[in-house]
Symmetry: C2
Subunit: 198 residues, 2 copies
C-alpha cells in the first residue's frame, strides 16, 4: 500500500464494515423487553459494565484491556451471527463449526486493518476467546452477567423461550461468571431463584 492515505483508507474500511454489528440481533431483549438487543449496543453496555463493576474483578485485572476486549469481542458475529448460549440444547454456542466460522470471520474482518492493528486487535480477541488470563476471565464474566440481568428485568426472557433449567443456568452461565467474578454470581444467582424455584 503506497497511496498517501492507504492507512486511513484501511482504518475506515474496517470501521465502516464494523458498523454492521449494529444489525446483528441477539436472543436477549432490552431491559424493558421492547425489542431484541443488537450486538453493537450490547458491546457498549458491556464496556459500561466493566467500568461500573471494576471492583468485582480479581487483583491485577487491567480494566482498560478488559474494555478493549469487550469492544472487539462480538465483531466476528458480523459474518457468523449471534449463537445464543441456550439454543440447540446449549450445544451450538461452542461447537467446532461455530469456532471455525468465527476464526474465518476474524481473519476477514481484522484483515481489513493495517497490519499492526490487525495483529493487536486479533490478539486481544483470541485472548478473550481462550478465556484463560485474568482480564479475559473477567470480560467473559461480564458477557454472561449482562443477559442474566436483562432476563431478570424483562420477566424471564431467553430462559422462558428455551425452557432453561436451574442446572443449565448453573452450567452454561454460572460457572463462567463464577470464574471471573464469584461474588457477582452469588449476588445474581439469588435473584434468579424466583424464576427457577431454586
Amino acid at each position: 500500500m503506497t497511496a498517501p492515505n492507504a492507512r486511513l483508507e484501511a482504518q475506515f474500511a474496517f470501521l465502516n464494515e464494523a458498523d454492521r454489528l449494529k444489525s446483528v440481533l441477539r436472543a436477549t431483549t432490552l431491559v424493558d423487553g421492547s425489542r431484541r438487543e443488537n450486538s453493537g449496543e450490547h458491546s457498549w453496555h458491556l464496556t459500561l459494565y466493566a467500568m461500573t463493576l471494576a471492583d468485582q474483578s480479581a487483583p491485577g485485572v487491567d480494566i482498560a484491556r478488559v474494555i478493549k476486549m469487550l469492544i472487539l469481542h462480538d465483531l466476528v458475529e458480523i459474518d457468523v451471527g449471534d449463537v445464543p448460549i441456550h439454543s440447540a440444547q446449549g450445544k451450538a454456542h461452542a461447537s467446532a463449526e461455530t469456532q471455525a466460522a468465527e476464526q474465518a470471520a476474524a481473519t476477514r474482518l481484522f484483515g481489513l486493518l493495517p497490519p499492526d492493528l490487525a495483529q493487536s486487535f486479533r490478539a486481544l480477541w483470541e485472548e478473550f476467546e481462550a478465556a484463560e488470563t485474568p482480564d479475559a476471565l473477567f470480560a467473559k464474566s461480564l458477557d454472561r452477567v449482562q443477559p442474566v440481568m436483562a432476563n431478570l428485568m424483562s420477566g424471564g426472557g431467553t430462559w422462558t423461550r428455551y425452557n432453561v433449567t436451574s442446572d443449565q443456568l448453573d452450567s452454561r452461565v454460572g460457572a463462567k461468571i463464577a470464574k471471573g467474578a464469584p461474588a457477582l454470581w452469588t449476588y445474581i444467582r439469588a435473584k434468579t431463584r424466583r424464576f427457577f424455584g431454586n
Copy 2:
C-alpha cells in the same frame, strides 16, 4: 446504605437505567442507511473509532481515558434525547437550555451510582463536555467524525435532510474535528467535496 448488597444494588440500578440509551434515536443512520442509529450503538462505534484511530491523537493523549469518556458521553440523552448538531439552524445543540437539561440528567443518572463512582464518572463526563483537555478534544473529534463518515457512506444523510452548506459543515463539524485530529479532518473533508461541490 447499610444492606450488605447496597453497593451492587446501586451499580445495577445504574446499569439497568443506562440500558435506555439503546432507545434514544439519533438523526444519523447506519452506514447502510437502513435505519436511524441509536446512541448506545453509536457509543460503541466511537470506542472502536478510538482504538482504530489512536494514531491520529495528539502526543500524550490517553486512549483508555478517551474510551471511558466515549462510553459515558451520551448517557444524559436518556433524559434529554439526542439534539442533532444540524437541527434548528445549528442553534439547539449547544443552547443554554440543552446544557441545563444535560446537567440535571447527569445529576440524576450518575446519582444512581455509589458515591465514588458517581464522582469519577461525572468528572469524566464534565471533562468531555468542557472540551479543553487533549483527551476530551480527541474524544470530541471522533464524536464528530463518525456521523460524517455515516453520511458519506449512506448518500448524504443529515446533510440532505437539514440542507447543510459547506460553510456550516466547516463551522459546526470541521472546526471541532480539526482541534483534536487535524489530519483526520483534512482526509475526511476531501471526501465531502462530492456532496458540497467545494
